[in-house]
Amino acid sequence: MKEDVPANYLLRVEGVLDLRWAAWFEGLTVTPGETETTISGSIRDAAALYGILAKVRDLGLTLVEVRRIQPSHPSEGRDTR
């Protein structure tokens, strides 16, 4: 990863989180599901990502997945079908 360029991430945690936790996760989108919650959005850089992970840790949430979402920026994306 280019460490200092923002990228979109998706995190999944176990448990259903209330929307109010979005502020806790620095303005990322909190999408509660049935048994899990998705936390997604643009994360500034690597340091910010690890900060978010630390918050997940500190709340005692069980992390299920961390995924970087391909940017939809045309200049960075490959040719799509």
């Binding site: 448990g15 259903v16 989180l17 209330d18 109010r20 936790w21 502020a23 806790w24 049935e34 048994t35 919650t37 630390a54 840790r57 500190d58 709340l59 005692g60 949430l61």
Partner: protein, 917 residues
């Protein structure tokens, strides 16, 4: 226990709150009354602690701290504790805290380590750890130190130095690291060696049986076995979950129903239960909880300041009684905090209130903390309240203290947290940031900051308000200090001319009422004066700084200034004075109980240099090795380079020429820039000189050419080392007349400036030059005068290092003296001449002690000459007008002293040594 924030001149504005808060870090947490003791875990801990390192790694809320506290309070082992926080990422502060924690379990560490920490910005953190390990190993004891909340540590410097400690754990020391993540230090090796024990979430979870005891017996909840089992399942044995349930269940009409709903829900446990708990609370408690949740730690008074109420004391009691996640930080029940998770959940809810309200709460907290001397907290709340100017003012007021404590990392962190515009608008902060950058070696960052400081000064037409720290503060006189820091930059670059100019300019900016000029300015002025060759003034200036250092109890300052003082004295040819300077430095450091100060290495190297000059090679070697080992830990590499260069000459003198060039190459490598050659960085020139001594004249000549040295250049004291190399090259290249001309010019300057050591060296070279030009008697005369000059202070190597030609000249001189009776040279005792000659003659003779071949007396010399002429004892007795017995005695002694077995052998030996022709 010693106050770990052991203050000196610029002491902290101490406050009772601050001291009390500080003490809480080292307080082993209170045990909660309804704690459930789990013997299996306590046993596990007791055994695990026997290992070198015990890791207690589990997410928040698993009861790590409670368990460790219970163990610590009940164990027979001496246990020290420190609860780490985010400010401890400054390595100096971190180790200060660890030392304080260790002190609780094993007294006597702090007094050795604290002085070291004050000079810590000059040292690598490993140096601090080394000193700690040495001290602990010197008086081993069994003890355990607990580092709680280690997950807050992110600093690489701290991680590395901790890893270093674990690698070199002194016998008897046990470490416990407790945190929410595994620390990023190499654990694999410790695991493999069986030195690591672990207690993890798996171990900490409550089994259903343990949960039953906890919930039913301890907390007296009437729950069915099915409910308990479901709870244990849902929370996965997480004790905080149980606590929250216990609170939520109180006053529920249908506890079983509640539990069923809870365990059946997928909602995030913490959130669900916190909501339940909060809903149970009356409004006045709920609002108190929410409003005070933004505080990291608090007293009743701080709560009142924030809530605007006056019931803080009662509220805390209520919360404590209700077991609402209040954690007492000390025994006096003064400072508290909330359980981290509970606080997090509360804060999330608080955020939903108006942001202005939240900012106001932070503002109140910041003001109270500031008023009570709690700088770190006040800063955090100010920034959170969006009041960067408050924060900036706090930082400005605290700079002196922080720098005095050696916590440069903290200052840098604070400054980078402030918005750049705010820093730029405050000249003192710009200056502080510049100082911090300079100390950290980030030299490129310094000038822009200084420019910003000046710009800020110009923009403010009014004068800066007086600094809170008073006139002696680190930021007292901004214009002078800005200029002075530029002088330091120039010095670091090796630009001597600029250093001198700027130092003098800085002095002009001092105001009249600054009778004692600020120390940094004084320092640069002393350097400037030295560089200009005003030796007497330089000696006085550095001696003054040494005195200041001693009276302030700063070994580090005294020793650093001592390095320069010794150099100045050596330039003046005062070997004895230089020796005393360095010896006094060592004595002072050990008297004040600061043997751990690494700067002591510089004194050893200074001593080594003097002993070398006097050909006391064993002593020189001992000191230089000690000095080099210590100086490797300093961040400034100049002393190390100097030591390695001295080592090189010692090896050369003892016949290890390859070892010599090896050491000299290393000396050149450790310097930051090899291009800088000057008085302060003579090593490159020294290397060239060594090349000549080894006979590698071509390489030396190549260096001379690279440096662009010409005989016709204008000569300056600061470049003298280089031009002396040029002279040597000329001599070696058989251009003695050119060499002589150059030497005369260098010598004239040296003479005028009273730099006797240079005068001596130049005389020696001139003697060689005269000899090369065929003027033997002129050479001997010059040499004789040089010896007369060198004798009082015991100079030997300055002659001996010049090789076989010098040796033969010395031999000739001795013979001439003996024959012709006293001219000027007879001011010098023959035995001194003998020593010099022996040193010059062969490397090995110089290395061995003079006991090997004792110095011959005047008489014995005469006898030797006659023995060589084949005279028999009777003839000798007649000639000398003494008894036969006397002659026999002289002959025996002479033969013995020469280590021979017969007269013939003695004569042969003498010829070998050049005592005879």
């Amino acid at each position: 226990m010693t106050d770990p924030y052991d203050s000196h001149r610029h002491g902290p504005s101490s406050s009772p709150e601050r001291d009390a808060l500080l003490a809480t870090k080292f307080h082993i947490p209170q045990l909660h009354s309804d704690l459930l003791t789990r013997p299996r875990l306590l046993d596990q801990l007791e055994q695990a602690v026997a290992y070198g390192l015990l890791l207690v790694s589990a997410p928040a809320g698993f009861g790590k701290s409670s368990l460790l506290a219970e163990w610590a309070r009940n164990s027979d082992r001496p246990v020290g504790w420190v609860s780490l926080d985010v400010d401890d990422n400054d390595p100096v502060r971190f180790w200060r805290c660890v030392a304080a924690a260790i002190e609780q379990a094993r007294a006597g560490l702090e007094e050795k380590i604290l002085p070291l920490l004050r000079a810590a910005d000059q040292l690598a953190p490993e140096a601090i750890v080394t000193a700690m390990v040495n001290e602990l190993a010197a008086r081993p004891a069994e003890f355990t130190v607990v580092l709680d909340d280690y997950h807050v540590i992110e600093s690489q410097a701290v991680q590395r130095s901790l890893a270093f400690l674990l690698e070199h754990l002194p016998p008897g020391m046990h470490v416990v690291i407790a945190g929410r993540s595994d620390p990023p230090i190499p654990l694999a090796r410790m695991r493999a060696r069986g030195q690591l024990a672990e207690v993890r979430a798996h171990d900490l979870r409550f089994s259903p049986q343990e949960a039953a005891v906890l919930l039913r017996e301890r907390w007296r909840l009437r729950l069915s076995e099915a409910s308990i089992s479901a709870l244990d399942d849902r929370t996965e044995g997480w004790v905080t979950g149980f606590q929250l349930v216990a609170l939520a269940v109180q006053g529920q009409a249908d506890p079983t129903g509640f539990i069923k709903e809870f365990t059946g829900s997928n909602r995030f446990v913490l959130d669900y239960l916190t909501e339940e708990v909060l809903e149970r609370q009356p409004a006045y408690i709920r609002s108190f909880l929410l409003e005070t949740s933004m505080l990291e730690r608090f007293t009743a008074a701080l709560c009142d300041a924030v809530t605007g109420r006056s019931d803080g004391r009662q509220m805390l009691e209520v919360l404590d009684q209700a077991n609402l996640f209040l954690v007492a930080l000390d025994d006096e029940r003064r400072w508290y905090r909330y359980h981290h998770l509970f606080a997090d959940a509360l804060r999330t809810r608080l955020r939903q209130a108006s942001s202005e309200r939240v900012a106001e709460l932070h503002r109140r907290a910041a003001a109270w903390c500031r008023d009570h001397g709690l700088v770190h907290d006040a800063l955090r709340y100010s920034m959170a309240a969006n009041e960067p100017n408050w924060a900036a003012e706090l930082v400005e007021d605290s700079v002196d203290e922080i720098l005095g404590l050696g916590e440069g990392a903290t200052l840098r962190a604070w400054l980078s947290a402030l918005p750049e515009a705010v820093v730029r608008s405050r000249p003192r902060l710009c200056l502080a940031q510049a100082i911090a950058a300079f100390n950290a070696g980030r030299l490129d960052e310094v000038e822009p900051l200084l420019g910003a400081a000046e710009h800020g000064l110009n923009v403010r037409h009014d004068r800066l308000p007086a600094p809170h720290a008073g006139d002696q503060g680190a930021l007292a006189n901004v214009p002078a200090l800005v200029t002075n820091l530029r002088a330091s930059l120039a010095w670091a670059r090796g630009d001597i001319e600029e250093t001198i100019r700027l130092a003098q300019e800085a002095r002009t900016r001092l105001s009249e009422d600054e009778r004692d000029p600020l120390l940094p300015v004084q320092w640069n002025l002393a350097l400037a004066v030295w560089m200009q060759g005003h030796m007497v003034d330089a000696e006085r200036a550095f001696a003054e700084i040494v005195k200041i250092g001693r009276s302030a109890g700063s070994s580090h300052l005294a020793l650093s200034a001592g390095v320069f003082l010794g150099r100045v004295q050596r330039s003046q040819g005062k070997l004895g004075a230089a020796l005393r300077t360095h010896q006094d430095g060592l004595d002072f450091a050990s008297r004040s109980g600061h043997p751990a100060v690494v700067t002591i290495g510089t004194a050893h190297i200074g001593l080594a240099g003097v002993h070398y000059e006097r050909n006391q090679l064993d002593k020189a070697l001992r000191h230089v090795e000690e000095g080099i080992a210590l100086c490797r830990q300093l961040t400034s590499s100049q002393p190390l380079a100097s030591g390695l260069a001295t080592l090189a000459w010692i090896r050369q003198a003892t016949g290890d020429s390859d070892g010599a060039i090896e050491a000299m190459e290393e000396a050149c490598r450790v310097l930051p820039s090899r291009d800088v050659v000057s008085l302060y960085h003579p090593v490159p020139a020294d290397r060239a000189r060594l090349l000549v001594a080894r006979g590698d004249v071509a390489a030396a000549a190549g260096w001379v050419q690279e440096r662009g040295l010409q005989e016709t250049d204008e000569l300056r004291y600061t470049r003298e080392p280089e031009y002396l190399v040029l002279a040597r090259v000329l001599l070696a290249r058989e251009a003695p007349d050119r060499a002589s001309n150059l030497l005369e010019r260098i010598g004239a300057l040296a003479e005028a400036q009273g730099r006797s050591a240079s005068v001596l060296e130049i005389s020696v070279l001139r003697a060689l030059g005269l000899h090369a030009m065929g003027d033997r008697s002129g050479a001997l005369d010059t040499l004789a005068r040089a010896l007369a000059l060198g004798y009082p202070e015991g100079y030997i190597r300055i002659f001996a290092d010049e090789g076989p030609t010098m040796a033969s000249l010395l031999g000739a001189l001795i013979r001439t003296t003996r024959k012709a009776g006293p001219p000027g040279a007879a001011q010098v005792p023959v035995d001194y001449l003998g020593r010099v000659l022996r040193a010059a003659r062969s490397p090995h003779a110089g290395a061995r002690s003079t006991a090997m071949v004792e110095v011959l007396t005047e008489r014995e010399f005469e006898v030797l000459g006659m023995l060589a002429a084949g005279k028999r004892n009777r003839e000798i007795a007649d000639e000398l007008v003494v008894t036969l017995d006397t002659v026999k005695k002289h002959v025996t002694h002479t033969i013995e002293k020469l280590g021979a077995a017969s007269r013939t052998e003695a004569v042969a030996r003498a010829k070998q040594l050049g005592l005879l022709e």
